[in-house]
Symmetry: C2
Subunit: 114 residues, 2 copies
DNA sequence: AGTATTAATAAGAATATACTTATATACTGA
DNA sequence: TCAGTATATAAGTATATTCTTATTAATACT
């Protein structure tokens, strides 16, 4: 694990990405559990392209990474991001969002690939 | 000092404000030292209205507070902000910007009201 | 009072952002 | 190979953001 401290411009770019409630929730959620695109669509009641575009921004910036598993693509926090510590310090301070995943689970809408 | 943890929406709003490099630098600087508007204008090579508008956003959100001292208005980090801890945790992780104030000082451009 | 200085506000323009709908791509399983 | 599902991309639109210039407000100094 690396502990690069971001310069001002880098920090501002990361914070701008996190400064959208959908993306902030996504990052918080993937920091707690892997999650796939269609789950986010359900969670946030947004269209699939809208979610996909948020994920792309996060991926392009190196905040999240993806793994395909069958027909699903799962997103997780990118553990190799040079600014992982910075990102974690920020998201540690907001409330856990796992309750949202539990709601999905209760509706039988969680995706499982085992 | 209060330790209210921001909910997701509140956190996103704060992060959006910090997600602009000018505002992030302003907040970092006022966390280290009081500073007046014309100093920011010099520091960032921006017009006075542009700086004023950034300060207004930060003030409206409660992140900074102002005190008039003579003809100058000094800004500082708002120590009574309910989310002070959150804000401080974020800005502690970016590099100190006092070198910028030292450059101003070297040019004899710092404002002093004593 | 009159002028200079500092800062805020207003109005408008250029750009960025976050959606929408339509379409393309990639994988799965019959 | 074909149909179904999951995801990405493209193009367009509405709105938000961040500047610009012009003006106003407040204070200081003579």
């Amino acid at each position: 694990m690396q502990i690069t401290s971001p310069d001002l411009d880098t920090a501002a770019n990361i914070l701008k990405l996190l400064g959208d409630k959908t993306r902030l929730a996504i990052v918080k959620i993937v920091s707690e559990q892997e999650c796939c695109v269609c789950e986010f669509v359900d969670l946030f009641q947004m269209t699939q392209p809208a979610i996909s575009q948020h994920l792309r921004k996060l991926k392009d910036a190196g905040l999240v990474s993806e793994t395909r598993r069958g027909q699903w693509i799962f997103y997780s926090l990118n553990k190799t991001c040079p600014y992982l510590t910075f990102i974690q310090t920020v998201i540690e301070q907001i409330p856990s969002q796992t309750f949202k995943l539990e709601e999905l689970e209760a509706q039988g809408k969680r995706i499982c690939c085992d």
